[in-house]
Symmetry: C2
Subunit: 329 residues, 2 copies
């Protein structure tokens, strides 16, 4: 991607051209400064075409059957005439080699559908960077006409919060309880969930799944609801047998309708967008400070002194800020 014709790319994306969409996502994933400038221009050109999808975050502990669940949900949606994009936030994908979604064979049936678009997690970088690029990819998918975007995340804490900050509904997928506390899901993540789905409700685990669902239904009852118009709900599914999938989708639709009617959906999206602007501003400030030649020399020395414990972190930070912003800082 040497030179980019942003206008042509925008037209391609808006026309639903899959190859243009893939190239556009590659552009927003690039960290090259000229690419970032092009990406910003592309996004601005496409902003009026965004906002049309149901944005669903899906998280779950390893072993909950997330790939099978997304495959089942995605296939169900495609059959019901939806266009489905699947994105992922997995900051560990570079380290762990095989990314969560790197291997499309994980979702073999869905990946063969012409109405589905599966994109692995951007690799490398901080969670903030990975999440930012995924959020921009989500906007591009909307501009390309997808009416459902599923954002998958590995269940490791921080990334759930990032994903919850870019979707309308956050779905937490669980396995039937094994009675092992270590498989537990932290209360904080449960509090993010608009919908809890206990998967693997089949065969030997059917009874355990019902029990787990009842436990969670009881538990979420005590959590403060995140929205006036929606109380968190608990369902069971068997992605393997395709059971409970349509009920999950109905709940997702019901949630979005309720939040639309109450005005909370528009407020939620506005608040999310504003928070993303602030995270862009923050990351941009730090990037520019790090790139400043004057500051860099100071930083090396101060970092050494802070590490040695001879200068406090607060004092070092103030000196760096004064150097970067001038005496007014």
């Amino acid at each position: 991607m040497a030179t980019v014709d942003v206008d042509a790319l925008a037209t391609g994306v808006r026309g639903g051209d899959r190859r243009a969409l893939a190239r556009a996502i590659t552009l927003v994933e690039s960290t090259r400064p000229d690419h970032r400038a092009d990406a910003t221009q592309l996004l601005d050109a496409l902003m009026p075409a965004t906002g049309g999808a149901r944005r669903v975050g899906i998280s779950g502990a390893p072993g909950a059957g997330k790939s099978t669940f997304i495959e089942a949900l995605g296939t169900h949606l495609v059959a019901a005439d939806h266009d489905v994009a699947v994105l992922a936030v997995d900051p560990s994908s570079a380290r762990s080699g095989g990314s969560i979604l790197g291997d499309k064979t994980r979702m073999e049936e869905l990946s063969r559908s012409r109405r589905a678009f599966i994109r692995p997690s951007p690799s490398g970088g901080t969670l903030g960077g990975v999440a930012r690029r995924t959020r921009e990819a989500l906007l591009l998918c909307e501009a390309a006409g997808f009416d459902v975007v599923l954002v998958e995340t590995v269940g490791v804490g921080q990334s759930e919060i990032a994903v919850a900050g870019m979707v309308d509904l956050f779905l937490l997928l669980l396995a039937p309880a094994a009675g092992d506390e270590l498989q537990g899901v932290k209360r904080g993540i449960v509090e993010l969930a608009d919908l809890v789905v206990v998967n693997k409700a089949d065969g030997d685990l059917a009874a355990a799944a019902s029990r787990t669902a009842a436990d969670y239904a009881n538990a979420v009852h005590f959590l403060r609801p995140r929205h006036r118009a929606w109380a968190a709900r608990v369902l069971t599914s068997s992605a393997l047998l395709g059971e409970g999938i349509d009920e999950v989708w109905s709940a997702i639709v019901e949630h979005e309708d309720a939040l639309s009617t109450s005005g909370e959906l528009i407020a939620l999206r506005a608040e999310q967008a504003s928070q993303w602007m602030w995270s862009e501003i923050t990351e941009g400030l730090v990037d520019r400070l790090r790139a400043d030649a004057d500051v860099r020399a100071d930083l090396v020395r101060l970092d050494r002194e802070v590490r040695a414990g001879t200068v406090s972190a607060a004092a070092a930070a103030q000196r760096v800020l004064r150097r970067f912003l001038g005496s007014g800082a």
Copy 2:
């Protein structure tokens, strides 16, 4: 605290004067710009006197018996000729009214000891702000001669990470497993723990405590160790009966000795200090940007457009940065 004689305060703190220490902590907790400047000067004056304590973070789910445990451990240490400071990080303390440590009667015996110093969590502000002030209070306690600092945190996710970033050893306190997944502790938090203690190993719960300890011992075995010189260990205790407390303290000492010998303790503290400098720099940059009059007018307009979805977060951020830093940004 209208005007501060920083030199006198530093002398008082270094002399172990409790009232001077309390005033110094109040100073670092203040957000007034002149107080921040004094606080930075005070910290710099005291930096050579810091570093002498064992820094121990203690986290645990509600119901694990954290207050009783800290009371038992603190009393044990005071009896063994240690000077013990107890600090807390609880960003919710302002909201929930009664802070985790606001009520010293929670630790009645310990609070009566002249060798103990108990300070509630700074109230209000973001987690970042609360954690920063607690970290500075930790340094002040060291300068005042305390050789053990216990930093307590409520078990709600983000604050554990902040506390783990300021201590040498992170202790996770658990109740015997109740078989309820919602009481589970997230894998990510378990991964932070150098020491897992299953408390309430008494009476009816003794058997369950042993089982839970065995389960965790098996589980932590599979986690990647955080240090070369130390593998996470699981113990049981009954804070109520005072049983197992000396074994916990022995493990803490053993951990610190092992990390000292391997050179990892000095490296850990250096890395933590550097990270705190970066978080100070980041917060300082954003504060100064928010305070810039030129930027503020732009921000109001851009925030509105971003919320309405007519401008992308990336484009708005770039415009704000250019306004703040000049055309070079």
